[in-house]
């Protein structure tokens, strides 16, 4: 424990700004990964345990595309599109068979795919870790924004995260498709009685969730090493974020991610050896005080 460092930082405005900025950055990176998880839960009521595996595939797809084409944009596209297709197939062929069963069966199917996907990646790309490398366009010195340090690449990631939040938030609230999806989440029987193909909706939502995970993986590939099993810690983090924010709530995920980001950035000053423990402790407190999370609604 190093409480002096923490209080010292809280007293200095320069430190507050820089650590606050990095907390914000961490939060936005977390949100990018977590949003797909919360979306799928919100509509399908499935805790997509294989979310981390989609993240991993996104990163590997992007790396391979980048190595083949050298185009960063194409790499991101491949990461997102590849996992969207994977998500669609996964949902239609496997997940759709266990919607009627209890939650444990759904978890088992997801767990099975975590195991399979990890081995498939090891089989295709090998056990050694890989690195995609930063595109030259982003190999520039970091910017100073309002006293905080922000690397340009993270500026891009924050932009994407905010755009995703806005599109999903507005799309679900305002558009016709959004309304149908919300209706399907609320009362699938009624929606299908109205002649709307719920299978199509479920499949699309899962594809979208997978795509978001894959996009997050693709965007993370230039700064994080790629290895089979890399989705594991990411899954845990996004899980914490969505549980704190409330499973199913986009806004909750955003808030949960930012809170965790701040806990990490300031926790690493005050409790360098117990930063993760702080996150779990916070999760316990939130769950005990408000079981549905900060923005969650009761799940019927």
């Amino acid at each position: 424990m190093d409480l002096d460092a923490l209080t010292g930082c809280l007293a200095s405005s320069a430190c507050l700004v820089t650590q606050g900025t990095s907390g914000f950055i961490i939060g936005m990176l977390l949100f990018l990964v977590a949003v797909g998880l919360t979306l799928i839960f919100g509509v399908l009521k499935v805790v997509n345990f294989s979310h981390g595996a989609f993240y991993m595939f996104g990163a590997y797809f992007a790396m391979t595309a980048y190595q083949l084409t050298g185009s960063f944009a194409l790499a991101m596209l491949c990461g997102a599109a590849g996992t969207a297709i994977l998500g669609l197939v996964f949902e239609r062929v496997f997940m759709s068979r266990v919607y009627g069963s209890d939650v444990l069966m759904q978890l088992l199917v997801c767990y099975a795919f975590v195991l399979i996907f990890d081995d498939v990646v090891r089989w295709i790309w090998g056990p050694e870790f890989k690195s995609m490398g930063m595109p030259t366009a982003f190999q520039v010195p970091p910017l100073f924004i309002g006293g905080g340090v922000v690397p340009p690449y993270y500026l891009l990631l924050i932009g994407v995260a905010l755009a995703v939040a806005a599109i999903l938030g507005l799309g679900l609230a305002r558009t016709r498709i959004g309304k149908v999806v919300r209706a399907a989440a609320h009362n699938p029987g009624m929606v299908s009685a109205l002649g709307i193909n719920t299978g199509l909706i479920y499949g699309s939502v899962f594809a979208l969730g997978g795509m978001l995970a894959g996009l997050a993986g693709a965007l993370a590939a230039p700064v994080r090493s790629l290895t089979p099993g890399m989705g594991f810690s990411v899954l845990i983090e996004s899980f914490i974020v969505t549980v704190i924010g409330g499973m199913g709530s986009i806004l909750g995920a955003l808030l949960g991610a930012l809170l965790i980001g701040l806990i990490r950035s300031f926790g690493s000053l005050g409790f360098p050896l117990f930063t993760d423990g702080l996150m779990y402790l916070f999760m316990v407190i939130v769950l005990v005080a408000r079981p549905t999370g900060l923005f969650g609604k009761e799940v019927a």
């Binding site: 805790v47 496997f94 068979r97 266990v98 069963s101 209890d102 939650v103 444990l104 069966m105 978890l107 088992l108 199917v109 767990y111 099975a112 795919f113 975590v114 195991l115 399979i116 990890d118 081995d119 498939v120 090891r122 089989w123 845990i236 914490i240 549980v243 499973m247 050896l273 117990f274 993760d276 423990g277 779990y280 402790l281 999760m283 316990v284 769950l287 005990v288 079981p291 549905t292 009761e298 799940v299 019927a300």
Partner: protein, 344 residues
């Protein structure tokens, strides 16, 4: 949120009620237990394979753990994702007491159970009022908290390296646990006694209270059952058996490692339950044996263990849609009913 509100929305797990058993079947249970122990105890004289003994000891550790989890999952409808924390707690408490104090093994055993009781009561008191998936989340969060505490508290637990240096095993009542045969017999005894006790809990009036809570907590509380207390009681009891499993494991590896308290152990417990089936008492035990056999043979044959295990899981989850014992029992019932039909 009150218990009433919490349970109204909760859907019961698809576990059929288990018919009441008479007093006679209780004696039968004891007889079966004694017979099972006798069979297990003679194994070392029939087979010279040490690997078989290893296997049975591991089955005892995981079997107690998985069966105790089924008390929560199958009988009470409480899906715990954090049950493994008590497995780890048992292993660490026991190993630490033996390493630090040098008390006789039975004393350490009882102390470990006492520690587990206290910690499980505290955690349970916080957790059990939550329903369904939120109960699962909060138990998981506690598990991760305990795991990260084990990692951080290096001076006590040895951190990620685990407790090293072996567990001292002074002889008590003529039992020498450093002798492998003794360890084997003690493990078997713990397993059989543990299973018998859990069976008694499941078949007792309290066990039927639990099933009622699982099926309809609102009705249970209307007829005067204190749902919170019943859930807490079974939470603590289940923790005790999980902790015993952890003790066996710590003796088997002669140490304790943070992986014992990691959530993957809880996940494995759930998986064992789904594999074996949650509707029969022995389902989790069957699941344990299946998973361990699968683990041991598949890792011998291929390093792509995940793919094989994943496909097996899919077979159970999507193909059978139930555990092996559930499947067997249902198949048997259908056949029996069919025979009755024909007889008429």
């Amino acid at each position: 949120m009150t218990e009433l509100q919490a349970e109204r929305a909760g859907k019961p797990l698809g576990v059929p009620r288990i018919e009441a058993k008479s007093q006679r079947s209780r004696y039968l249970d004891v007889l079966i237990a004694i017979a099972a122990f006798a069979v297990l105890a003679t194994l070392p004289f029939l087979f010279s394979s040490k690997a078989l003994l290893d296997f049975v000891i591991r089955c005892a550790a995981f079997g107690l753990f998985a069966t105790s989890l089924n008390l929560l999952v199958g009988y009470t409808g409480m899906i715990s994702f954090g049950h493994g924390m008590f497995f780890g707690l048992g292993a660490y408490s026991f190993a630490l007491i033996m390493q630090r104090t040098g008390v006789p093994i039975p004393v350490a055993f009882i102390c470990t159970l006492l520690i587990t009781t206290v910690i499980a009561a505290v955690i349970g008191a916080i957790c059990v009022r939550l329903k369904e998936i939120y109960f699962a989340f909060v138990t998981l969060a506690f598990q991760m908290l305990i795991h990260s505490m084990i990692l951080s508290w290096v001076s006590l637990t040895g951190g990620d390296q685990g407790l090293r240096g072996g567990i001292p095993r002074p002889v008590f009542l003529g039992v020498d646990l450093s002798n492998y045969l003794h360890l084997y017999v003690v493990s078997c005894a713990l397993l059989v006694i543990g299973l018998l006790l859990m069976r008694q809990i499941a078949q007792s009036p309290f066990g039927y209270t639990l099933r009622m809570i699982r099926d309809n907590a609102v009705r249970a509380s209307f007829i005067g059952i204190d749902v919170w207390r019943a859930k807490l009681t079974i939470f603590v009891l289940a923790a005790l058996f999980a902790s015993t499993g952890g003790i066996i494991m710590s003796l088997f590896v002669s140490g304790a490692y943070p992986e014992f308290a990691f959530w993957t152990i809880s996940g494995e417990g759930i998986f064992i339950n789904m594999l074996g089936g949650v509707t029969t008492f022995l389902g989790p035990m069957v699941g344990t044996v299946l998973l361990l056999i699968m683990n041991d043979t598949v890792t011998r044959l291929t390093e792509y263990y995940g793919i094989v295990l994943g496909i097996v899981i899919l077979f159970f989850a999507i193909g059978l849609r139930k555990g092996l014992m559930d499947f067997v029992v249902e198949w048997y019932e259908v056949r029996r009913d069919g025979a009755k039909e024909r007889a008429r």
